[in-house]
């Protein structure tokens, strides 16, 4: 009697172990189904197959392993594990495929950008030639000087409309000169600094000065100068070069300065 009850107890123990195994089974089934769905999706996507074939193959192998194991009792943990790994490989394959598509897109866009840069340069050159002598006069009023900050070129106020940040087309020749100079001197970098006169709100002046400097930087980059070579600063009404009490003085103070580095790429520190 004693022996019977004991063997019964042992049997119960085994049964409960089996039940616990069953409970785990449900989770592993779910993981397996998820992995099958993930794998199905990447397998049918020709882009993923093309760009990440190895990851798709690994996902398939691991899924096969999880499926084989699922027919054994007590293997729920292993099934969940391999299903998880398979799902991860499917996700990695999808990411790799997205990356490759983006890289291909970037290459196409880059070609388009080069084409547009060339077209823009030609348009600006044509514009500058049409303006001829008149444009030359405008350029003369720009001064380039060498001081303790390095080589500094000043773009005068007349190159912008009042209160606006866009460069006028009369600046074409100057801008093209700067671009040409930077292309002949590939190690030089520039800092473009915007300044205003002291009329109006200080914060607005700061914004306007920064926007004007940025507009010049944008044109340079549109014409093919790498953005890494261009720094932009806005100083508002600080550092006037003339008095703010006369119209002439204020016009002098409204300016954009292009500070060039030396031929080793060393630029003076910003103010």
């Amino acid at each position: 009697m004693n022996a019977v009850s004991r063997s019964l107890g042992f049997g119960l123990l085994l049964a409960s172990a089996g039940l616990a195994g069953c409970a785990g089974h449900q989770g592993s089934d779910q993981a397996l189904q998820g992995a099958v769905a993930d794998y199905q999706k990447v397998k049918e996507d020709t882009n993923v197959l093309r760009s990440a074939p190895k990851d798709v193959i690994r996902a398939g192998e691991l899924l096969g392993r999880a499926e084989r194991l699922s027919s054994y009792i007590g293997s729920a943990d292993d099934v969940t594990h391999y299903a998880y790994l398979s799902s991860r490989y499917s996700a990695i394959a999808r990411e790799h495929s997205k990356l490759l598509l983006n890289q291909e897109k970037l290459a196409r866009l880059e070609l388009e950008r080069q084409r547009l840069q060339l077209a823009l340069r030609e348009a600006k050159l044509a514009g500058a030639q049409q303006q001829g002598q008149w444009a030359e006069d405008q350029v003369v009023s720009l001064s380039t000087q060498q001081n303790e900050r390095g080589l500094v070129m000043t773009l005068g106020d007349m190159l912008f409309d009042t209160g606006r940040a866009e460069l006028k087309s009369s600046a074409n020749r100057t801008v093209l000169k700067v671009v040409q100079f930077l292309q002949f001197n590939p190690r030089r970098v520039v800092r473009i600094e915007g300044y205003t006169d002291s009329t109006g709100d200080g914060q607005e002046n700061l914004t306007l000065s920064k926007d004007r400097a940025q507009a010049v930087a944008d044109v340079l980059s549109d014409l093919g100068i790498e953005e890494e070579r261009i720094q932009v600063e806005g100083y508002g009404d600080q550092y006037p070069v003339d008095v703010n009490t006369s119209e002439r003085g204020r016009a002098q103070n409204r300016r954009v300065e292009i500070v060039f580095s030396d031929d080793k790429g060393r630029l003076s520190a910003p103010r």
């Binding site: 790994l85 991860r88 990356l99 897109k105 970037l106």
Partner: protein, 121 residues
């Protein structure tokens, strides 16, 4: 007395099974190295704690090291294998995000160029 004698073979069998279990799973030293490399690689491309899969990878790697210390080699291997793929996925996600940002940037530049060309004509 007879109770003790009868229970002993069961205990022995369980112990034997446990030993066999241990013998089947060697210490996953190589896998841990692989996982550590994968985590380092993900961080090198710029994955941070904001990337949930990197956090998963780090948690599971820590767990795997603890399993190693406990000599639970099977658990260590499983945690390390999962952590490796978590890290690889985090790395791939970061690279994809970066390429998306690049596409957006070039598109903005193109937009600006087209606008200027349009304004010039």
């Amino acid at each position: 007395m007879s109770f003790v004698l009868r229970i002993q073979p069961v205990v022995a069998a369980v112990l034997f099974a446990a030993l066999v279990g241990c013998a089947n799973d060697p210490a996953p030293t190589e896998q841990l190295k692989l996982t550590e490399q994968a985590v380092a690689q993900a961080q090198a491309v710029g994955a941070t704690d904001e990337e949930p899969d990197l956090v998963n990878a780090q948690t599971k790697l820590t767990q795997a090291r603890a399993d190693m210390a406990d000599q639970s080699y099977k658990a260590a291997r499983m945690h390390a294998e999962q952590a490796e793929l978590d890290a690889r996925l985090a790395e791939a996600r970061v690279l994809t995000q970066k390429s998306e940002a690049q596409v957006a940037q070039v598109n903005a530049r193109l937009e600006r160029l087209r606008k200027q060309l349009g304004a010039g004509q």
